[in-house]
Symmetry: C2
DNA sequence: GGATAATACGAGCGATCGCTCGTATTATGT
DNA sequence: ACATAATACGAGCGATCGCTCGTATTATCC
């Protein structure tokens, strides 16, 4: 058993008819993930939900994992579209306003099919082919790092890689956790406060003006 | 199938012999999770690994989920012990030093059986009984909030709930992501830098001295 | 319109899973 | 010592899973 970890379609869908079949399968996978959860998403069930025979499913996907990968990639494409737009829009703006816009966009991005997002985040094992799909994070990282690079003069002297890592990770975690576990801070009245706080967090971190504090106890760990 | 979601042992282990059996099962579950991953951890396999019959397993655990819950709870107890100690030690110290210690401890905590931590984070579905086990996070939240409360005078005026949420979420994410995806920033030379940056992040956020910026565009979202 | 390629179908095999239940073994109390 | 309770055992049932393969249908090309 085990160990067949193919991810790409076995067959390229060339005719119109088959492209529809593939779409129906990906669509059905997403629906089932949301409605029934990851474990209950068997290939048989997916084929049935899609109105497609199990044989046809295996003509285009080598297994459940490949279907989930397809769903994730589609979801990520949609999310990154929002993020990219935000960074482009932020380009000309001063640091704080830019950060604010990007953070607001991060929240907005997490609202693209949040139920699917939840299933993918909470139930989908990051194993096999699924683990590499986190190219998503590194794309966000590159995007933000590029912004920092172009606005280096507004920043304190800092390793851009590290700074981008700190900012992206924090923003991601804040919006992610808020969406999944803190719906109350996302009410129309409260969401502004959250954006304010997150903005203060990263701007205070990036700004040169921050009070330079004695980096004493460096060897506290290890 | 489905829907039996018991979590607590069916039988309390009263004699010494049975307590050993339960321990062996939990221990075996952790080993298998690490070695083979979540999906391959079947009850049959766990029983075999523990050197215990499948019948005995079901005398004490209603299913796989309960076993995993037991493993998670044990792991969380170990981690929170580190965190609690750090907060206690931070009590008398000024904000920055305290934050530094807590962050260093957060990294240290993530080093308690990191391979198990990875499996639990990446493969274990947060579903059924597993979702409530995230009481872990809320415990960390309470702990940190209590510290903030006792040091309110060193802070800018801020909603403590919100501030604790922002700090805990960020620190958690930074250490978590670093341990799981950025081993290079945890080398003995680099880890100090990471602690420095994380400290600057939260201290700059909590300090009153931070340059108060005009909270303009509040309605950027929605 | 006939040949060939592309696509769709679904019964069903073999493997694994979670779990029960009847039985055997060991500890406890008197 | 014996009776009773606690614990341990594991064969095997029923359900589900992933997946193949022989066949039927539909599109494409000349």
């Amino acid at each position: 058993m085990a160990a067949r970890a193919l991810t790409s379609p076995r067959k390229r869908a060339s005719q119109e008819r088959s492209r529809a079949t593939v779409d129906a399968l990906v669509e059905a996978t997403a629906r089932i993930l949301v409605r029934d959860g990851f474990d209950r998403a068997s290939t048989n069930r997916i084929a049935q939900e899609a109105g497609v025979s199990i044989g046809s499913l295996y003509q285009y996907f080598p297994g459940k994992e490949a279907l989930v990968v397809a769903v994730i990639e589609r979801h990520n494409r949609e999310i990154m579209q929002v993020a990219r737009a935000a960074v482009v829009e932020a380009e000309g703006l001063p640091l704080e306003v830019a950060a604010r816009g990007i953070i607001a966009a991060a929240i907005e991005a997490h609202r693209v099919d949040p139920r699917l997002h939840r299933v993918l985040a909470e139930q989908t094992p990051r194993t096999g082919a699924l683990e590499s799909v986190e190219a998503f994070n590194s794309e966000a990282f590159r995007l933000f790092r590029a912004y920092l690079e172009r606005h280096r003069d507004e920043l304190r002297h800092v390793d851009l890689d590290l700074a981008a890592f700190v900012c992206v990770t924090s923003i991601e975690a804040l919006t992610h956790t808020a969406v999944l576990h803190r719906p109350e801070v996302l009410s129309d009245e409260a969401v502004g406060t959250l954006v304010d706080e997150a903005t203060r967090l990263v701007v205070g971190y990036l700004r040169p003006s921050a009070p330079v504090t004695t980096p004493t106890s460096v060897a506290l760990i290890r």
